[in-house]
Symmetry: C3
Subunit: 329 residues, 3 copies
Amino acid sequence: MKKPMHILKADQFDRNFLAYLFELTDNIRRLDKSKEGQMYLQSLLNHKRAMLYFTQPSTRTFMSFQSACHILGIKSLEIRDSSTSSERKGESVEDSLQTFSSYVDLIIMRSPIAGLCDKMAQLLNSTHRPVPIINAGSGPDQHPTQALLDMYTLNRSFRKSGGFKGKTIALVGDLKRGRTVRSLSQLLMQYEGVKLLFVSPEEFKIGADLRTQLAEAPGLSFEETSNFKAAIGAADAIYMTRVQDEYDLSGESKKIDTKEFHLRLEHLPLLKKDCVIMHPFPRRDEIDPRVDQDPRAKYWRQERNGMWTRVALITNILGVDNRIIMPEL
Amino acid sequence: MKKPMHILKADQFDRNFLAYLFELTDNIRRLDKSKEGQMYLQSLLNHKRAMLYFTQPSTRTFMSFQSACHILGIKSLEIRDSSTSSERKGESVEDSLQTFSSYVDLIIMRSPIAGLCDKMAQLLNSTHRPVPIINAGSGPDQHPTQALLDMYTLNRSFRKSGGFKGKTIALVGDLKRGRTVRSLSQLLMQYEGVKLLFVSPEEFKIGADLRTQLAEAPGLSFEETSNFKAAIGAADAIYMTRVQDEYDLSGESKKIDTKEFHLRLEHLPLLKKDCVIMHPFPRRDEIDPRVDQDPRAKYWRQERNGMWTRVALITNILGVDNRIIMPEL
Amino acid sequence: MKKPMHILKADQFDRNFLAYLFELTDNIRRLDKSKEGQMYLQSLLNHKRAMLYFTQPSTRTFMSFQSACHILGIKSLEIRDSSTSSERKGESVEDSLQTFSSYVDLIIMRSPIAGLCDKMAQLLNSTHRPVPIINAGSGPDQHPTQALLDMYTLNRSFRKSGGFKGKTIALVGDLKRGRTVRSLSQLLMQYEGVKLLFVSPEEFKIGADLRTQLAEAPGLSFEETSNFKAAIGAADAIYMTRVQDEYDLSGESKKIDTKEFHLRLEHLPLLKKDCVIMHPFPRRDEIDPRVDQDPRAKYWRQERNGMWTRVALITNILGVDNRIIMPEL
């Protein structure tokens, strides 16, 4: 058996792969427009089973992946809480996961245990019946499929205006602790002529390591600022994020005033005509819900794009993507 | 896109719609009798996905709706507890629901939050991708599909003897706080020549508002009584209900003696030959389990009718009912 | 309707039935090797629904049964925790189960309530719409499908060397309280010329009742020993089990040293060349994970065999096994 392709980190995706996956996603969405196309998609993998192993709960990501499975006809087994009975009987998490792997063809996992995805990928590779693993945003690790859907949404938005080259993207909020901003920035480094504006209060600026990486990226320029209004006015895309206070040590986030970095109705006239507003969700008060009615608000479509890019990724991992690029219909 | 038809309240159903839905349900049950028919039913909506959003748990109603989805080939996403991780991250319930709506074609919801179904139906109507909502019995709100299955069961039982006209229906138990009794009474007001007997201890009599509505209903007559034996002897249908002590403020139900209003083996000889015994379930001690063996006990069929009427309703909402009335088989 | 065949106890399976089921399982695995075969399997029961009623949680057994359902196209309803809302409303467990039975064609149940499976099987037999029940390892009761998969794994392992006759099987660990050892021993009594070695510390020896049964079995011989090394050296199969400390009254298991009965790397040279190592899982420290790499370690296959034998059993119960023995492909 060919070694399976695990999806563990965003930086596994190079620019070519992204371009391929975006086209795949577009084709899948086209197929989804008719019942015939939908049934064709289901026929691709309706003989397969997946395990959704979410011992770190995330309803949003769970539902998105499960819908992706349903679209492809994949049957799913689910763990959605942090304790399983076997673990209570003293079983190691490795044994639990290997057990589940023996029932399925794919494991999609989100665990609070740092490094567990990588470890399991390695362990499974050494077994008699390895199955691919997708990291669905484990703890402090990466969240590669979030980065994928963000890139797909940007790509679609910039398509009509010549692609990424020359575009300014404002990333706003808690830039220090958000996995999303880090992964997205790393993928954007692959595109020439992009300008990134990091917009945050002093306390939430990007980390030193990311700053170094950005400085070394050849075609990309970036700026750090606390001037929200100027930044959103200059941006072709605004990527809003929430305060990541689950990483607080002692409630320090509460002392930081982020109100100035919230997108309100009064800001809409400042935005470029074709600007896109994004948010990885969940949102708190970063974006006034009334902004949802503005045609530039793309976060709900971005949400749905998550489902589509996951469908595309799964077809790729399980080797049926070739049947989508050249549909047999 | 056409505005979707949400199912929010029992009084959305008029007599014509009920008659239509009952015929639809009969046809569905007929199809279900063969594997070919079952596969035909599954083929109708196997390209669709539904979200079962049950933040107010109800295993019975959940399972009934999920089975209805399975019968139609619909894939389902589930929330079956009262907390979701996103809400824990500070997301509004509206954002959570709109997220889930972006993955599915139908939302079936039961929430403890009063008015949430109505609010979400309105919110979704204003979005780019509205999906229909079915209220599956939310909190203090209505439980329209329960009323539907009760009416279907009555309708089937009365069919051979000329329909609702001239029938006497005894409603027994906690009539004050049961949503079921209220919804059912409201639907029965649409039928002429029905007589309702409200049988309860003094403390559990129907509310003043329902009494007013009943008094104004043109063709219907009603009576309130505490004479259980006389009532069940006169009834063509007996609708038993349990004490709704979850609405107690301080255990006041315990002080009320309801024993006289329980159906026991010794009562069976008093009943009419064709009387039907119903119960919306769960039951406690209102009906002796040995009564189950009596052919007039229809509550287990009533339970199963819930599944069938939900199948019918979903085909109607998702626009494939026309393929059942005139089956293509 | 024909009385359904419930699966309640391991001793329902006689030698002929086991032989039949093993052949069925082999055929199912053969079908599973191609997408066509997999789709054929799904077509057998994709018009059926099953309830997985696991009020005694067991992730492993749950997932195995659910996968078996998926393989056959069966849609499943799930209860995976120990409380259901109806029970909270005062409903009897019998009413809950009969409710669920009205939605499905098969109930697979694991309940902590002793005797509930038997009781429900009887109750359902008396109803208008009986459905078969499979006991999935309820509490102190039997775990018949575990015995089935163990026998299947032994059978496959012994096939090349002439079957069970003359084989020595070492059963190691907590032999006193493990349901698995008891059920397996009872099935092995049906085979002539088998020798059983019960290997345990004094405190975990088999119960007097099993000892009596063994002594009376005509063709079988057995021995009780605490000499682990000698036993595993003589064995054609080693069946390792964990300490069942969930049955401890006051932590008495901790006082017993079981280290001598653990299988470690250093023991591997002692084993026969064709010996098979088995474990019903979950494992703690009975087997060093590095042993997994030895080709004689069959516990991961045994795990997967559980899924396959459950597929076979379900086809038999729901009456489509005749379509597998002589596949229509």
